[in-house]
């Protein structure tokens, strides 16, 4: 079609071209049976299940964690009483990075942005009076995932809950730590080994557990655009599949228990397209590249968190509107569970009031908006299907680049490890983050209340109040635990762990024994850091 005006084409937030009008011509190469299919059928573009929200609404899963296990346990019970139906645990930075609460680097951060867990005793307190066989639990932990998972299994066992009855997720996405979230402890190779240990162990012993939550959310928060988020997340997923295959696991034994986790930004249609493209890409990859046979291995299911980085300090109530838009896009995109970030998160972790608002946003979408009345309501829109095709094509360009960096039978895994080592992925994300910031500063990207439409009102919020006593309390408890256990048992358990690591065995059994002997998270991670070496931020920008 001839260009009729000289005006610049509109672009999506990630830079995809958006035409003024779409027509059937835009879908001339789209075959609805081949490229969309029915909901619940290959290639799952329209959703992983035939009836989607008509069968069951998404899980309202607000992440929470702060202070001690007791304090967080109270918040969980508050959320469960206010309409939440799944638990998602946020750990503090020392726990996420594998340091005990009394480590020098932990100062000021114990229980600050999440709950502090040092030993299996803390894990027990965290889930006090919460039936682990009834409530699904998501453990948001990565490099030390094997330790926290070990603690969780140990608590379940103590309570007489059969591991087969456990439903939940461990994030366990070690590779994204090098370019998103950045709570790494070990290098890419060893952390991938531990991720695969969990996959192998749970596939055999905890069959209803989701073993990895393959995460784009943190990549997006780190400043990537939607295309990069999609591409790097899918590439990570492929690397995990290849690593499990290399371990000798049949694809259909573990693939049904992989899940995904995405962020959701403000560009509604681009986000919906991203989710739909992700499902189609994953289905084809699993079927065609990895020869999966079971439909459950091919259908991508995901959790969504609305993006904290889109939340502004200026006019914080505006963030409720942003959260609603992002949540709407996630639901139109067919999310299986959802966290709406608190409108006050540009100031601190969310207050109880902000979390109540987030849950209300979800409930209003569920029960008042009508968007759940039919499956995949966006399907067939000339624009939506074009956008889905375009974002998929753009994501494939990145995946092909990563593949070209690799070699051998497990080429994506090899390429991704190489791309992490050379800083390629991190630099791509940093470039996007910088370009986006420049657009905001120049006014090209309007952010209401920040660079345009500033308001004079400056209403003070009731923010979350952190109790600094919690850190001292946690350190005291840790000292108590260290004092009350058998030093010989701890020593011997850690020695066995070291031996298994040297013998390249699956470390889950040795970790279970160590947590049972009351070894702390930091002690177990120290043992691993001794063997595998500690990862240090290369500090590239």
């Amino acid at each position: 079609m001839a260009k009729e005006t000289n005006s610049k084409p509109n672009r999506s937030l990630s830079g995809l071209e958006v035409k003024p009008v779409y027509t059937p011509e835009d879908l001339a190469n789209t075959d609805f049976v081949r490229d969309l299919g029915q909901p619940g059928e290959f290639p799952f573009t329209r959703g992983p299940y035939p009836n989607m929200y008509l069968g069951r609404l998404w899980t309202r899963r607000q992440i929470a964690g702060f202070g001690t296990a007791q304090a967080t346990n109270e918040r969980y019970r508050f959320l469960l009483d206010h309409g939440q139906n799944g638990i998602s645990t946020d750990f503090d930075h020392p726990t996420l990075t594998g340091y005990d609460s009394d480590h020098d680097l932990a100062e000021g951060e114990v229980g600050r942005l999440g709950v502090a867990i040092d030993s299996v005793q803390d894990m027990d307190d965290l889930f006090l009076d919460i039936p682990l066989d009834k409530v699904s639990v998501s453990l948001t932990i990565n490099h030390p995932a094997i330790v926290l998972m070990g603690m969780f299994l140990s608590v379940s066992e103590k309570r007489g809950v059969d591991w087969k009855a456990l439903r939940g997720t461990v994030q366990n996405d070690s590779l994204k730590e090098f370019h998103g979230q950045k709570t790494f402890a070990l290098g890419p190779g060893p952390s991938l080994k531990l991720t695969t240990d969990i996959v192998e162990f749970c596939t055999k012993q905890v069959p209803n557990w989701y073993t990895i939550s393959i995460s784009g959310y943190h990549i997006r928060e780190s400043g990537s655009d939607a295309i990069q988020e999609l591409a790097f997340t899918i590439a990570q997923g492929m690397a995990y599949v290849e690593s499990a295959l290399e371990r000798g696991l049949p694809v259909d034994s573990f693939a049904p228990r992989l899940s995904f986790f995405f962020g959701c930004h403000n560009d509604v249609f681009e986000e919906v397209a991203k989710f739909r493209a992700a499902r189609r890409m994953w289905a084809r990859i699993m079927k065609e590249r990895y020869n999966a046979q079971k439909p459950e291995s091919m259908r991508l299911r995901f959790h969504t968190q609305t993006l904290g980085s889109t939340l502004m300090r200026q006019d914080p109530q505006n963030n409720i509107a942003r959260g609603t838009l992002q949540a709407l896009a996630a639901v139109l995109g067919g999310t299986q569970s959802l966290h709406v970030s608190g409108f006050d998160e540009a100031f601190d972790i969310p207050s109880e009031e902000a979390m109540r608002m987030s849950l209300a946003t979800q409930l209003i979408l569920s029960h008042e908006s009508g968007v759940t009345n039919t499956v995949d309501p966006m399907a067939g829109s000339y624009f939506m299907e074009s956008m889905t095709n375009d974002i998929e094509e753009a994501a494939w360009e990145y995946i092909s680049k990563i593949e070209a960096l690799g070699e051998g039978q497990y080429q994506i895994k090899s390429g991704l490890l190489h791309a992490i080592d050379t800083g390629y992925i991190e630099l791509e994300i940093a470039r996007s983050a910088y370009e986006y910031q420049l657009k905001i500063e120049s006014g090209e990207q309007v952010v209401v209340g920040l660079n345009q439409y500033q308001s004079e009102s400056n209403q003070k919020l009731e923010l979350f109040q952190f109790d600094p006593e919690e850190e001292e309390w946690q350190k005291g408890r840790l000292a108590e635990i260290r004092g009350g256990r058998s030093p010989a048992d701890v020593k011997s358990a850690l020695a066995s762990l070291k031996q298994d690591a040297q013998d390249d065995k699956n470390l889950m059994p040795a970790v279970l024994a160590a947590v049972g002997a009351m070894a702390t998270e930091g002690e177990i991670l120290d043992t691993m850091r001794d063997i595998y070496g500690e990862y240090v931020d290369p500090g590239v920008f």
């Binding site: 932990a106 000021g108 951060e109 950045k182 709570t183 980085s309 502004m312 940093a430």
Partner: protein, 141 residues
């Protein structure tokens, strides 16, 4: 006023906090503004920062912290800078998730510039050039 093109900035993330999007954006912006940027990366201790500031003879130290631990860690940093007798020669800036109520206490600790999340990079580069041209740590003319 002469254009300063030889300003040297040390950037670091203190504590275990992993939120490094902002500081990397700032690092690029300062580099593009003609400054020399030394980025120490994440998980750096107050002593390491002060020691590097001394060795590298920097004009500015910029700290990013989004974990809420700033009121615990910044006093340790200002003390470490004082111990090395460089706190008067350095423009100290802190950015991140800083509640309104903490801004004044940070100023009292000796932090000259506080930049909460959402601050523009241009406001930071201007802050640096203005303060340094006022002679704070400008090279001898």
């Amino acid at each position: 006023m002469t254009q300063q093109t030889n300003i040297k900035v040390l950037l670091a993330k203190i504590g275990l906090d992993g939120h490094d999007r902002g500081i990397k954006v700032i690092a690029r912006a300062m580099r593009d503004a003609g400054m020399e940027v030394v980025y120490m990366g994440m998980r750096v201790t107050p002593d390491q920062i002060a020691q590097t500031a001394l060795q590298e003879d920097v004009d500015v130290v910029g700290i990013s912290i989004l974990s809420g631990a700033h009121m615990r860690l910044i006093p340790r940093l200002t003390k470490a800078l004082q111990e090395r007798e460089i706190s008067n020669d350095i423009l100290l800036m802190v950015g991140g998730t800083i509640p309104e109520d903490d801004v004044e206490p940070l100023h009292e600790l000796g932090v000259q510039g506080v930049f909460p999340v959402g601050s523009f990079t241009t406001s930071m580069t201007e802050f640096i050039t203005e303060n340094i041209s006022r002679g704070r740590s400008a090279p001898q003319a």
